[in-house]
């Protein structure tokens, strides 16, 4: 066991755990911050992504004792008080989550991207988000929400206004004609 102090979401927290315990399990089991998720334990899926000194890291393979003194940010600390981070709002506006389990990791990866690159292209997004699995396949909405948060250039819902029945009926008649 080892006693050390972590700075998580701006708060100093004393922990007394095995020095090899990865940050993921310190967060979830010792501190009770369960927003950061366990997916694979081998840094393949990105569900456990948090920021250390602003950089996205995989908390499932990073011993927490290595991070003493460095600012750690988790999904719970992304909003500014009650004001959501633009990515969190965009995730809601675009209705990104299906099961929702991977989304904390997705948002943390995306937040790190926007801090480096406030106006990413699709390719920038692909490069930054390639390490985050979404088993439900919400990738197109993830991309859309990142654009929405960064530039507010796209409309929220994926398919809010179309299709409508009349239009499809019309198209069908056109097809048959």
């Amino acid at each position: 066991m080892a006693k050390y102090q972590l700075n998580i979401n701006g708060e100093d927290i004393d922990v007394d755990v095995d020095p090899q315990m990865p940050l993921l399990w310190v967060l979830r089991d010792e501190i009770g911050l369960v927003g950061t998720k366990f997916g694979c334990g081998i840094a393949q899926c990105g569900a456990c992504t948090v920021h250390v000194s602003g950089q996205p890291i995989r908390s499932c393979i990073t011993p927490a004792s290595m991070l003493a003194g460095q600012p750690i940010r988790t999904i719970e600390g992304l909003a500014n008080g009650t004001e959501l981070h633009p990515l969190q709002q965009a995730w809601i506006d675009v209705d990104v989550p299906q099961c929702g389990y991977c989304q904390a990791g997705q948002i943390m990866s995306a937040a790190a991207l926007l801090e480096q690159n406030p106006s990413p292209t699709d390719n920038d997004i692909d490069a930054a988000m390639v390490g985050n699995y979404c088993r439900c396949g919400a990738y197109n909405r993830i991309r859309k929400a990142i654009h929405l948060a960064s530039e507010n250039t796209t409309t929220p819902f994926y398919d809010a206004s179309t299709p409508n029945i009349e239009q499809i009926d019309g198209d069908m008649k056109g097809e048959q004609a």
């Binding site: 911050l33 929702g100 396949g137 197109n140 069908m172 097809e175």
Partner: protein, 775 residues
């Protein structure tokens, strides 16, 4: 022949009926009811049906107020202390906040948003006033809890409408009294009851206390809204848990924290069915953070409790770490010896013969195949076992409390499951606890796809909690999750078909080579006697040969359909190519005139609905347009889960067989759409899931052991490879049905057909990585 060979069924090997299958049967019974009206007509229910639907068994004043009693807590009433209850699903506070309970499991399919939308619509509520809470598990109050088979919308649409309409009528009754106006001059809109002929109105909040004193509306008088008047159904609504999800608040089973809780891991034999002989328990108990280590004998039922070693400790990491240091002697004398390699070689030996058992036969396929005027081809298709890979690994929390002083034992469970009440009979048979002794909390599921219908992870944690006497959270590692799944069953189909001199498909034969589990039926490993295009042709035959295995299998998103669509819809394209004809033209010709496959069953294939979605997808994708070299368009249609879906895929393939899927155009008829955003999400997700699975996923087993273990050797599609998905709905007036599964099956054949169009290479085997493709 009838449809008894339909293996979308999910029969247990014990012969009991799986919950998902039970729902399917219920829906089918509903659909087969004579004179059933389309769901959007005014539906009147008799009182008995209403009471059954409302889930409230007592006779008198079933919708009367239940005010918070002395023992009520804030939790009982969500965050609306003092709210009054209109019925089991609805509470309204005097401030006008409306709580709607969601009684079914949410696993990403969107019903926690969609079902309350239906209630709110019929109520005349403003969606912004609605807060949705997960209900407790109580079937006497809410009706069946469970989700599966894309049936939830279909089976609860009328129940939800009834709940909403009865609440609306109670508000109207209250407003009529309060404003001294006739009921029929009042209407509900935007959480307000307004008068048609004046500007008088009262809000739901103002009326709440009076509304609950209204007597139960006679269900025969309930009139459902006309769809032209919908303001919520059919719109795009963001998921009701999205704020919690993006904020990282605890929602999922794996997030449960209970005072004094300890953490557990469970190691089972790598070969299914192996039993623990001994283990280095004393050494393990000395490891840091380990509080207990013991052997559970299990009951030899892979769906309940398999033999293994339980580890309990002060953190998940402590038990995961200790698990890697376990040294276990296994008795594998009765364990699985399954070998995928042997299954493949056996299938290749027998595929050209007819199956050992006939499924259906009509006309004379042999005469057609040997007719010199016909062109006849045959092909062998193969698809592997695959895993579910829910992002949230299997987990469950339990607190088994031994009764003291003659009190009975109690059990509290926090379960992410598709079938919450399925735990009761298992808990009874294994732990001898009656339903009254068990409290179940249904947690949000981090994905399921058919995985969480069995109770084995529940049994494991109960047994562990009972042994250590404290609350326990069991978490499976990803390795446990991949190596102890109930897999999508692999299999093989040998198909043969002929086209006549006009290029018309005239005969079709399928030899289905599937699996049974210890002699019992496996979900998804079967071939329907009604499978398309059997009923479309005069000459058709299907037979099967079943291989018995010991690898556990279970439902996986669109069971059966997810593999059979690949075979049939690819092979129809092969026949079209052989005939030198356009695939679209051949497919439409096969459909023929509009008719129901099963007359009177509105959940059967309708060739008219099929034709419409095929045409729509083709039209939207600009089918027939000239394609650059190396590019191709592929088309496929598949009917499953009462849904008609057609997809057109555009791919390009380079000289190194690197595949790019550029876009997927989807046309769907599942009747009216409840939540447009949720519906499109299901289709997008199914398309990407289908591609992910087709591209590189394959579970293999040798000597009974699954060879894959984690995401490094079992890959999910990543964001750069996600194609654009263009979705179009035909919102027909038939009963709405679910969309969690049916958009997946057509994807694989559409991709395969597009690859053929691009480079002339036929794909008859999944995954594509086995055929040399990369993405």
């Amino acid at each position: 022949m009838n449809d008894n060979n339909n293996d979308d069924a999910m029969m247990d090997d014990e012969g009991s009926i799986d919950v998902v299958r039970a729902v399917e049967l219920e829906i089918n019974a509903l659909a087969n009811t004579p004179n059933r009206q389309p769901a959007l007509s005014i539906k009147k229910l008799d009182r008995r049906s209403f009471l059954k639907l409302s889930g409230i068994a007592s006779g008198s004043l079933v919708l009367a107020a239940i005010m918070p009693g002395p023992g009520a807590t804030a939790e009982d009433f969500g965050n609306l202390v003092g709210s009054v209850e209109l019925n089991a699903f609805i509470k309204v506070s005097s401030e006008g906040k409306i709580v709607i309970y969601s009684s079914n499991p949410e696993m990403g399919q969107g019903i926690k948003t969609a079902l309350p939308m239906i209630i709110a619509e019929e109520m005349g509520a403003r969606w912004a006033d609605v807060e949705v809470l997960q209900s407790d598990v109580d079937e006497s109050r809410y009706g069946r809890h469970g989700a599966g088979g894309s049936t939830t919308i279909a089976r609860t649409f009328d129940q939800m409408r009834t709940m909403g309409a009865s609440a609306r009528e109670m508000f109207i009754g209250a407003a009529s009294l309060a404003m001294e106006l006739p009921r029929d001059e009042l209407y509900a809109q935007d959480s307000t009851i307004s008068h048609v002929f004046s500007n008088k109105s009262l809000s739901f909040g103002e009326l709440a206390a009076l509304a609950v004193k209204q007597s139960l509306p006679d269900p025969k008088t309930l009139i459902f809204k006309d769809k032209a008047d919908y303001t919520i159904i059919g719109t795009s609504v963001t998921g009701v848990d999205n704020l919690e999800i993006v904020s990282g608040l605890a929602l999922f089973g794996i997030d449960v924290r209970v005072p004094e809780m300890q953490y557990a891991a469970y190691q089972k034999c790598p070969a299914f069915g192996g039993k623990v002989v001994s283990a280095n328990l004393e050494a393990i108990k000395k490891l840091p953070g380990i509080t207990a280590a013991f052997i559970l004998d299990g009951n030899d039922n892979v769906r309940e409790l398999s033999s293994g070693v339980a580890l309990v400790g002060t953190s998940t990491w402590a038990v995961f770490n200790a698990k890697k240091k376990l040294d276990i002697q296994w008795d594998e004398s009765t364990a699985s010896k399954d070998s995928w390699t042997q299954m493949v070689s056996r299938a290749k030996q027998i595929h050209a013969q007819p199956g050992t058992e006939l499924i259906t036969e009509s006309g004379d396929v042999n005469a057609s195949f040997s007719n010199p005027a016909h062109q006849t081809i045959d092909a062998f298709y193969e698809y592997p076992f695959v895993a579910h890979l829910c992002m949230e690994p299997m987990n469950c929390s339990a607190h088994y409390k031994a009764g003291s002083n003659g009190e009975k034992d109690t059990l509290e469970l926090w379960i992410p499951t598709q079938a919450p009440t399925r735990a009761y009979p298992v808990v009874k048979s294994m732990f001898d606890l009656d339903q009254e002794q068990v409290k179940i909390h249904q947690m949000r599921l981090g994905g399921s796809f058919g995985r969480r219908v069995y109770a084995e992870y529940i049994c494991e944690v109960i047994a562990i909690s009972k042994q250590v006497g404290v609350p326990v959270k069991l978490t499976w590692s990803r390795e446990d999750d991949i190596q102890h799944d109930f897999y999508r069953v692999g299999g093989f189909q040998s198909v043969k078909g002929s086209v006549d001199k006009n290029g018309k498909i005239v005969a079709f034969e399928d030899h289905f080579m599937g699996m049974t589990y210890k002699g019992g039926r496996i979900s998804g490993s079967g071939f329907r006697a009604t499978e398309f295009p059997i009923l479309n042709l005069k000459n058709a035959r299907a037979s099967k040969t079943m291989f018995d295995i010991q690898t556990p299998c279970g439902p996986w998103r669109a069971p059966g359909a997810n593999t059979t669509a690949f075979v049939i819809q690819s092979f129809i394209h092969e026949l079209a190519v052989k005939a030198g004809r356009d695939h679209l033209e051949v497919l439409l010709e096969l459909m023929g005139k509009p008719q129901w496959f099963d007359q009177g069953n509105i959940r059967s294939l309708n060739t008219g609905r099929a034709t419409d979605v095929i045409k729509l997808a083709a039209h939207k994708a600009n089918w027939g347009r000239p394609m650059p070299k190396g590019h191709g368009l592929g088309l496929a249609f598949h009917f499953s889960h009462a849904a008609h879906v057609a997809e057109v895929v555009e791919v390009s393939v380079d000289a190194n067989k690197k595949l790019k899927v550029h876009n997927v155009t989807v046309a769907v008829d599942v009747g009216p759409i409840i939540n447009m955003s949720g519906a499109t999400a299901q289709v997008e997700g199914a398309v990407i899931d289908g591609l992910s699975t087709m591209m590189g996923q394959k579970i293999t087993m040798e000597n009974g052991r699954v060879e894959q273990s984690n995401f490094h050797d079992y890959q999910v599609l990543r964001i750069p490879n996600a194609p654009a998905v263009d979705i179009h709905f035909i919102q027909s007036d038939y009963s709405p049905t679910g969309l969690g599964e049916p958009a997946l099956p057509p994807l694989a054949p559409a991709v395969g057909n597009a690859i053929f169009a691009a480079i002339g290479e036929r794909v008859r085997k999944m995954p594509l990585t086995d055929e040399g493709f990369t993405i």
